[in-house]
């Protein structure tokens, strides 16, 4: 499916979605945290889209906001789409899990929780993946400081 066709189809599901193609090789869909899970289940189950392969899930600290970037591919139709979600709450960021849609998200979301401190609703086993339980702070956030272990320029 071409990016234009995808945009037209997915745009009909939820009116609030924003689409961008600049500065990226894929079609980007921006979704609000409330509609994230609905959109993701649709993208997976709709026979036209069939995005059954979540090949990358990355946390990003955008400065004001914290966000997640999902890279999705369809193994039958071979098209790719990127879904982006952001939350402005840096103190207590919470998003919905997509673990029930793609099993690989369980580990990826634990990694995001470990390094960005984003919590996931309904995640089966949300605890730190790499760091120890008593670690203070979330190292991949831009405002993280560690005088002992970090070497700056």
């Amino acid at each position: 499916m071409t990016n234009e066709a995808l945009q037209e189809l997915v745009g009909n599901w939820l009116p609030e979605l924003e689409f961008t193609e600049e500065e990226s090789q894929f079609l980007n869909i921006h979704v609000s945290p409330q509609n994230l899970h609905t959109l993701m289940s649709q993208l997976k189950s709709n026979p036209e889209t069939q995005f059954d392969y979540l090949f990358c899930l990355s946390g990003v600290d955008w400065g004001e906001k914290l966000g997640i970037v999902y890279h999705l591919e369809s193994t039958s139709k071979r098209h790719i789409v990127v879904v982006k979600v952001t939350t402005e709450d840096r103190e207590n960021p919470v998003l919905d899990t997509v673990y029930d849609i793609w099993a690989t998200a369980e580990f990826h979301e634990r990694e995001v929780f470990d390094f960005f401190g984003i919590r996931f609703n309904n995640h089966p086993n949300l605890k730190r993946l790499f760091l120890t339980e008593d670690w203070v702070g979330y190292p991949l956030r831009k405002d993280y400081e560690d005088d002992i272990n970090m070497i700056l320029h």
């Binding site: 090949f55 390094f115 790499f130 760091l131």
Partner: protein
């Protein structure tokens, strides 16, 4: 008269045992927390982070040339292919035209790396299930590739041979001859692998029907590489998103449908034959030309997002760069194949025995630094 003996002295109850972080079958520092009932596994929970170096955070501080050096330290058995992933991402972002010579050499080196990685895997796979001889055979053949790498790249493990814009140095004058010698040598040795291990009845009993992964689960868990292909899931990045000179050669994507440990084993053995064939098609046709195009000493990527995926020996490696137009990436994420392949271990190991877990893990071919990036 026979009566059924009911054991009333012991109760069946679950308990925990630790496997690792120093267990030889975990191939590095991976700790598995096993919940077992007798010898039957109820749950496998990996405990990670023993060698996490936060490469992604380091990347936010480093220049793009420096980042390439860090990638060797992730999946060290696919070092060249990891280098290539970052170089391709940077080159695509800069829209650099890369000489044909570079593309062909990168593909040859990449396939040599794959064979070398699979040789090591085959050696330790045998060792994990109790056949020590394979270890020496695998390392003997891998040694020849290491020598080729040493001569051309100057290193045996962390090569750093690819740089954004091409290759650090041109190939050594002996390269073509030595690669051909290796192909001749390895074609006589690979059937030996089959005679020694593949057909071995004890080995087959340990692997056939063990750790079965269905195609649907393989896709859902994000499995890639030989793990995905053994479940009938066509996931070869070289086929679906070709890069470098891979579109100039013909090769078969090895697919099996059984999804068990033995299928994953067979896929890797077959892949070595395919890699040999790819190298054979290219080794006599390395185009003349430059081995590198000049780039700015300080590389600044344009503002935007760039994604590059390559097929390492373990599966799909993704490099996701978010650039704000400066000399460092704003965010760089490595989607490593081992990470996703490890996440399905619990799913396929439950219900089996600890011995099966060892055989299953051997065919997942985990390299822990690739998971603990």
């Amino acid at each position: 008269m026979e009566t059924e003996v009911v054991n009333t002295n012991f109760k069946s109850e679950e308990y925990f045992i630790n496997m690792g972080p120093q267990h030889p079958a975990t191939h590095g520092v991976l700790r598995l927390l096993l919940t077992i009932d007798g010898e039957i596994i109820k749950k496998v929970e990996p405990d990670l982070g023993y060698i996490h170096r936060s490469i992604e955070k380091m990347c936010e501080r480093d220049s793009y040339q420096q980042i390439v050096h860090l990638t060797d330290r992730m999946d060290y058995l696919s070092a060249n292919i990891n280098n290539e992933a970052v170089c391709l991402a940077v080159e695509n972002a800069l829209q650099l035209e890369i000489p044909e010579r570079v593309k062909v050499i990168r593909t040859i080196i990449g396939e040599l790396t794959r064979i070398s990685s699979h040789c090591l895997w085959w050696g330790v796979m045998g060792m994990d299930v109790g056949a020590l001889t394979t270890y020496f055979y695998g390392f003997r053949d891998r040694e020849m590739i290491n020598d080729i790498m040493e001569e051309t790249c100057g290193a045996r493990l962390t090569m750093n041979y690819n740089v954004p814009g091409g290759l650090m140095l041109d190939i050594h004058p002996n390269f073509v001859k030595r690669v051909k010698d290796f192909i001749t040598h390895f074609k006589t040795k690979l059937p030996e692998y089959d005679r020694l291990l593949t057909g071995n009845i004890i080995f087959q009993k340990r692997t056939i029907g063990v750790g079965i992964l269905s195609k649907e689960d393989a896709i859902s868990f994000g499995a890639s590489g030989p793990v995905g292909r053994a479940s009938g899931y066509s996931c070869d990045v070289r086929k679906h998103h070709p890069y470098s000179a891979i579109d100039k050669v013909t090769f078969n994507e090895v697919l099996k449908t059984e999804g068990d440990t033995y299928a994953r084993y067979l896929v890797r053995i077959q892949e070595m034959w395919e890699s040999l064939s790819i190298i054979e098609q290219l080794i006599d046709n390395i185009p003349e030309g430059e081995h590198r195009v000049t780039t700015n000493a300080v590389i600044k990527l344009p503002k935007g997002e760039f994604y590059q995926k390559v097929e390492t020996a373990r599966g799909e490696l993704g490099v996701y760069i978010i650039s704000t137009g400066t000399k460092n990436p704003y965010r760089l994420k490595f989607r490593s194949p081992g990470f996703s392949n490890l996440s399905l271990l619990n799913h396929i190991a439950v219900g089996g025995k600890i011995g099966d877990l060892v055989a299953t893990m051997a065919t997942l071919d985990l390299v822990i630094p690739d998971i603990d990036r």
